[in-house]
Amino acid sequence: MQDYLVRRLLQSIPLLIGITLISFAIMQLAPGDPMSTMISPDLDMEAVDARRAELGLDQPIYVQYFRWLSELLSGNMGYAVQSGRPVLQMIVERIPATLLLTASALAFAYIVAVPLGVISALKQHNLADYLLTLFAFLGISTPSFFAGILLVYVFAIQLNLLPTSGHYSIGEGLIGFAATADRLRYLLLPMLALGTRHLAQVMRFTRSSMLDVLNQDYIRTARAKGIHERVVVYKHALRNALLPIVTLLGLTLPALIGGSFIIETIFAWPGMGRLGVNAIFAREYPILMGLNVLVACMVLMGNLLADVMYAFVDPRIQYS
């Protein structure tokens, strides 16, 4: 297992470098560089050129890339063009917000989806199953930005139950339980918007996986032995049915981060996603590259995590 982990980690290094190389190249394809969004008739072009030179934008692309890569290896993600702040710092200060949002969306999706999927499977072709299936297809086919806007409209603007945007009541000076409750109120809508789609997917996955398992011979055997139905469902069926779902978990992570780009913008949530959206429009290559590396790492780690967890839930699988 240890060998396997080491090998996988080593394998991801060239992969990561490849990803950064490609994304660096793609970014250069778009005409205009970070300085070009700042150009206005009030600015001396000399100064713009000086800044270009300072940022190394006047160098050939491969020089820029290797310079960036070597800086990255020494732990420096570079500096934002507009603010001159270290990119790493800008990302790090936004990680907690994004983590809170995505983790709770993920938790919400799985905690609700797995039981519902099980119910759906157990009640196959019953009213509950049909209703849940309907809900699942609605959830899968509703883009998260639409779900987000709809939630804001209904729960914030019409019903006035929850805040429309932001991540806590600024300037209220709340502390203790009140502060936590306040943050939860702000979290609820973006979490639902981000999580619902995944909830629907996971639910469908659980259902089909569960149905698959329930039709296996060993389930019939278990039932024939007179084992309590609850034990059959939870111990024998669900544990086996969870296998593909675990894989899904590893793959959901990057999708969630991607989704947070839109959701964070809709809810004015101060996380990495919004940083990314703003960086795209401002042609902030250093920030985009920084985010890119981070997300790439998460995807790779997510996959690795899925594989490792696989071994844990299924003793038949062994890595060597």
């Binding site: 778009a30 005409p31 205009g32 070009s36 969004t37 700042m38 150009i39 008739p41 009030d42 600015l43 001396d44 072009m45 000399e46 100064a47 050129d49 800044r51 270009r52 006047d58 507009q82 603010s83 001159g84 702040r85 800008m90 200060e93 936004r94 039981p115 119910i119 157990l122 509950a128 804001v152 729960f155 914030a156 603007i157 006035n160 139950l161 929850l162 805040p163 429309t164 945007s165 932001g166 991540h167 600024i170 300037g171 209220e172 009140a178 409750a181 306040d182 939860l184 109120r185 609820l188 309590h228 139905e229 609850r230 913008t265 809709i266 809810f267 004015a268 101060p270 996380g271 703003n278």
Partner: protein, 574 residues
């Protein structure tokens, strides 16, 4: 058995929902008290009271708050609260005292002596003196300064020498005493007032930045939480979330009424929702949402001049745009009234010269080119651009009247595009519409070679482009767009316009310090631009500011929303 387990899940699920909803209801209570509509008080006018918080929405995080470092537009309202200049602009676009109580112009017009208020302090308690003013202006001329605003101080005597490293000091900046500074320019220069205004050279603290080498300014932490002299000081910031400002108790013009100002950062749509839910007090509303906000019982809608305009730039080097007569015909073919109404949902004002109509420089007596497609067609026929019956497009000497037309990817510009294209098709002119983003647009307008060096402009760069432009109180700012000198590579005369009289007039406007004389010269200049149409001006923009009625004294105008922030006060109906 199965049923039991199923119902257990339902119970759990319902319980979870109940918990969530009750959480939301419980947590909701404190703000709701605040939400109570203020009692109407028709009989008695309530005077300003101290205290309270006002929350303003801004669309993106002002990552850098040092006014001398490559600025971005959105920070203007924040600057306004944090800093002062020697002078500032008033709603009539005249210079009025700010940190300087008064000033005196020497007989030769080259030296302006500013007399400063003697009780100005920075947010950290240090007094502000003429030395800080000199420090600020001199910094803009420093050889290592890379903030891009040297152009503004370049007319000060000795600034060029200082920048070249030939002098230790800018000769034209003379501190007479702690509260008096004399600024001497090479020639009489009316634009010096613009330079020392709050919008350009906001006064920075020498005691903090004096020891920081200029090449480190770009990355200095001062840019995150700057210290100024303005009515508010910055106390807290959270990236992409908010900035909190508190009243500067020792503000030399008197402490503002409100205690706290919170700038909330969010996408326009998100902030509109936040306003409707009373989470922010002041927003800028898109025209299509005016009706929505007007229906809110607590909203005060202010429609005011936005200080910018949209125009079509015509490449003067293009074979069928070089002649002023052709450009006039194209202008005549455009139904600018309809374009304005459609693009702005009725909130813009058609213009005939490239400036905002409220400015004293705007030519009052120019008629422009009223819409008349038949006349436009006739004008083009007379110039020899005749319709080729095969293609339906005008031609002359084998050249087709067809343009590449570049547009920035914005809704407003897309709406302009559909109408302009229709108008020009009516007179048999072909347009090839390209929609690009702003960064790409700058590459079209400022052509560069592969190494990034500016190259000579040519007829092939573009035919027409659409852009918006924000204008300042000083018409001199437009010199860079229309002086033939600036059509060089890297210059901002994108359309390569050239007219000797116009070049001359820019010089004359600059050296005339008397406002009446300046008005006359500027109007002559703009009349020429109106006649020769290097640009086809479309319309001046209108901003729609919406405020919660708890905010009193809010009077947005061409200067923006926060220009009179010290006069705001909060009426929570108590």
């Amino acid at each position: 058995m199965r049923r039991l387990s199923g119902s257990k899940f339902w119970t759990l699920f319902i319980a979870a929902v109940v918990i969530m909803v009750s959480l939301s209801v419980v947590g909701c209570q404190p703000p709701e008290e605040e939400v109570e509509p203020p009692e109407e008080d028709p009989d008695e006018e309530v005077g300003p009271t101290e205290g309270g918080t006002v929350r303003i929405a801004i669309s993106s995080d002002p990552e850098n708050l040092n006014p001398l470092i490559l600025p971005t537009g959105v920070v203007a309202p924040v600057f306004e609260c944090l800093f002062n200049g020697l002078v500032r602009d008033n709603p009539d676009w005249e210079w009025v005292p700010d940190a300087a109580e008064d000033w005196e112009v020497s007989d030769d017009g080259r030296t302006v002596t500013f007399f400063l208020h003697d009780d100005i302090t920075f947010h950290d308690g240090e007094p502000m003196t003429a030395h800080d003013v000199k420090f600020t202006l001199q910094s803009m001329a420093h050889p290592d300064y890379i903030g891009g605003q040297f152009g503004y101080v370049s007319t000060i005597l000795g600034a060029e020498e200082y920048r070249e490293g030939e002098a230790d000091d800018v000769e034209g900046l003379e501190v007479i005493d702690d509260h008096t500074i004399a600024i001497t320019t090479v020639e009489p220069d009316a634009s010096i007032f613009n330079t020392v205004s709050r919008g350009i050279a906001a006064i920075l603290p020498e005691h903090i930045l004096g020891d920081v080498p200029h090449e480190e300014w770009q990355r200095h932490e001062f840019n995150q939480k700057p210290i100024g002299t303005g009515p508010f000081k910055i106390v807290e910031r959270e990236a992409d979330s908010h900035l909190t400002l508190e009243a500067h108790d020792d503000y030399f013009k008197g402490r503002p009424y409100i205690d706290r100002l919170i700038f909330r950062i969010g996408d326009d749509q998100a902030m509109l929702g936040a306003f409707m839910n009373e989470e922010v007090d002041i927003i800028e509303a898109p025209a299509e949402e005016v009706e929505t906000v007007e229906d809110l019982p607590f909203a005060n809608v202010h429609v005011h001049e936005g200080g910018s305009f949209n125009y079509l730039g015509l490449n003067n080097l293009h074979p069928c745009l070089g002649q002023p007569e052709v450009r006039q015909a194209i202008a005549t073919a455009l139904n600018i009234k309809e374009i304005t109404a459609t693009a702005t949902q009725g909130y813009g004002e058609p213009i005939i010269a490239p400036h905002t109509p409220s400015s004293w420089a705007y030519p009052a007596d120019c008629e422009g080119w009223p819409y008349d497609p038949d006349k436009a067609a006739e004008m083009l026929d007379d110039l020899g651009w005749e319709v080729n019956p095969d293609t339906g497009i005008r031609e002359k000497d084998g050249v087709k009247m067809s343009y590449d037309w570049y547009n920035v990817d914005r809704d407003e510009h897309r709406r302009i595009a559909s109408l302009v294209q229709q108008n020009l098709e009516d007179v048999n002119i072909e347009l090839d519409i390209q929609v690009i983003d702003f960064a790409t647009m700058t590459h079209v307008l400022l052509p560069r070679d592969a190494d990034g060096a500016g190259v000579e402009r040519s007829k092939d760069d573009f035919g027409i482009y659409t852009l918006g432009l924000t204008v300042g109180p000083d018409p001199q700012g437009m010199e860079r767009q229309f002086h033939s000198r600036h059509s060089e590579p890297g210059g901002h005369n994108y359309v390569s316009y050239s007219n000797e009289r116009v070049d001359e007039l820019w010089g004359e406007v600059r050296t005339a310090l008397d406002l009446d004389q300046r008005r006359e010269l500027a109007q002559e200049l703009y009349s020429i631009l109106c006649r020769e149409v290097p640009w086809i001006p479309l319309y001046a923009t209108t901003d729609i500011s919406v405020a919660h009625d708890r905010v009193q004294g809010f009077e947005p105008n061409v200067l923006g929303q926060v220009w009179n922030v010290t006069e705001w006060w909060v009426d929570d109906g108590s």
